[in-house]
């Protein structure tokens, strides 16, 4: 049996068929200031009652934190008071991005189910759990009942073989998959299976970008996962890491993927952003600092760095990366989603080009529809910051 059906069977007592819709019990409920603001309003205006199991809930103020306006601050207040009233204990304000914090907390076990009021909830698939991204109404329902309605999608196995060449990152593989596999991944759950044991960050990034692949979710099979007889996958993709080369997603679609070598120098770059749930971990900041150090050159663009969590930030400080980046002229933002969603800091100017380690390059994503965003790995981002062009 495949890992997805194993997860569902543990909750339902049976294996559901493809296309079947049912109510699914959940183990963790994740939300942030953005989704929680809508949830709070639903509870207040519709007098929904109490959260059934507050201990299952984790909320991070990460999308806009600290508040950028009185309006945001007042919405934060409503959410803060609501969580207190409802006895939700696990609340983070400004300690980083919800997905990163949930992962760091080690509170999610393989085969558990996490629902989250954020599309990148599948990130937790990195530990072999099933993360399902939802809207605010679904989260309100989950808070009330500890269940969500769910339709069992088809499954696509992504078989990874080989070892990644020096200079490539999980981001390159995620972008490579985005560039080639729309049909195989759309509206399916992806199951990643690797011959070699991949680092935890790799698993996180691949599951994190499942929504960009239009997948419902993604689960990375844990090391030592014992496959049972029939897997029953509906589709299969095979990738050889040995052949991986750096990739970029050009504006304004995540599937607008090119090999970086084919577009090198094609665009002048104004600002480089290293951060987010996709590319704001210690390994990303370390790669950025190492590439800059090795070059001995100064920055040719603005550089904005936003650690994915306080823990990442502290480790980057201890390793000397932050001090070095500050000397180089980088702007370091507090742990949060930062400029990725164009709601508070790091808004782009008209006609500007940003190379970003984030997961979305939609028109207007970073707060200005007249700007352009190119997605890349932290290494490619670092090179762009040095060269001033793609």
């Amino acid at each position: 049996m495949n890992i997805v059906d194993k997860i569902l069977e543990a909750k339902l007592g049976r294996v559901p068929s493809v296309g079947e819709t049912f109510f699914l019990p959940v183990d963790h409920i994740l939300a942030h200031d953005g989704s929680m603001m809508l949830v709070e309003r639903m509870f207040r205006e519709q007098q929904l009652g109490d959260i059934l199991e507050p201990s299952k809930v984790f909320v991070a103020f990460d999308h806009i934190f600290p508040a950028n306006s009185a309006l945001t601050a007042n919405l934060h207040k409503l959410v803060r008071d609501f969580l207190k009233r409802q006895n939700v204990q696990r609340v983070s304000e400004g300690r980083g991005i919800s997905h990163q914090l949930l992962w760091e907390s080690k509170s999610v076990s393989p085969l558990q189910i996490v629902v989250g009021g954020d599309s990148h909830t599948p990130s937790i698939g990195a530990v072999g759990a099933l993360g399902i991204g939802l809207g605010a109404t679904d989260i309100a329902y989950a808070l009330l009942t500890s269940t969500v309605w769910f339709t069992r999608p088809e499954l696509c196995l992504v078989k990874i073989s080989g070892r990644p060449p020096e200079g490539t990152e999980a981001k390159d593989l995620a972008l490579k998959l985005l560039g080639q596999s729309a049909q195989a991944t759309t509206n399916r759950i992806l199951v990643f299976r690797s011959g070699e044991s991949l680092p935890p960050e790799w698993r996180f990034v691949l599951c994190n970008m499942a929504p960009e692949m239009d997948a419902v979710s993604a689960v990375f099979e844990p090391d030592g996962w014992q496959r049972l007889e029939r897997d029953n996958f509906d589709d299969e993709i095979e990738v050889d890491l040995g052949a991986l080369i750096p990739q970029v997603a050009m504006p304004h679609q995540v599937r607008n993927v090119e090999a970086r070598a084919d577009v090198r120098g094609a665009r002048a770059v104004d600002v480089v952003f290293v951060g987010t749930c996709t590319g704001g971990r210690l390994s990303d900041i370390a790669t950025l600092a190492d590439v800059l150090r090795a070059s001995g050159k100064g920055l040719a663009t603005r550089l904005v760095v936003c650690p994915a969590s306080t823990m990442v930030y502290q480790h980057a400080i201890e390793a000397g990366h932050i001090s070095y980046l500050l000397e180089m002229g980088a702007t370091i933002l507090p742990p949060s989603c930062g400029p990725c969603l164009g709601q508070s800091v790091g808004i782009l100017g008209d006609g500007e080009v940003c190379v970003s380690t984030a997961n979305r390059n939609f028109r207007g994503r970073m707060g200005n529809a007249k700007a352009e965003i190119i997605l890349a790995s932290s290494r490619v981002a670092a090179e762009c910051a040095l060269e001033g062009h793609l």
Partner: protein, 167 residues
């Protein structure tokens, strides 16, 4: 039966296109209605209303889970959308707010032009575009219909829950 005007939009229209991130923090639903599709096509808003039938291409509502996209459409009077396919979270957000998000198969029905008239029959789950036969018929899982008919997921919860409401 309702007579509707078709408003066509393209493929891969994401929820950032429907409502930009800069409007998500708002005190009222009106904000999301008033800025619908602002970056995608600012001329669209004037054409949205109770008699507008949004007909999108594939992967409609992909990307961010922001429910403000559906709340804005609903506030504009949109109760039905049609698309070749949907971003999965957006489609659930539609169902959860009692907005019918039906899927068409382009092979079976010639797609209507922008501005074309359409006759919607919610009871029969079908829409007929003027000058085109046969009608487009949609199906939805029983639970989608149940939730939609209840007026959304929270109304469905109210109707089905026996739990005491304490606060």
């Amino acid at each position: 039966m309702r007579i509707m005007n078709v408003v066509r939009i393209g493929d891969n229209v994401n929820t950032d296109d429907i409502i930009s991130g800069r409007y998500l923090r708002a005190a009222s639903t009106d904000t999301w209605r008033d800025h619908l599709f602002e970056d995608y096509d600012p001329s669209l808003l004037a054409r949205l209303g109770r008699d507008a039938l949004l007909v999108a291409g594939s992967n409609f509502g992909c990307g961010s889970s922001r429910e403000q996209a559906v709340l804005g459409l609903k506030a504009a009077g949109i109760g039905v959308v049609l698309a070749a396919s949907y971003g999965s979270i957006f489609q659930r957000n539609c169902v959860n707010n009692g907005v019918l998000a039906a899927t068409y198969t382009a092979l079976k029905v010639a797609l209507p032009a922008d501005g074309a008239a359409a006759i919607l029959d919610l009871h029969a789950c079908q829409v007929r575009f003027k000058g085109s036969a046969p009608p487009l018929v949609w199906e939805a899982p029983a639970l989608h219909r149940e939730i939609c008919l209840a007026g959304g997921l929270l109304a469905y919860f109210m109707a089905t829950s026996n739990q005491p409401r304490t606060s």
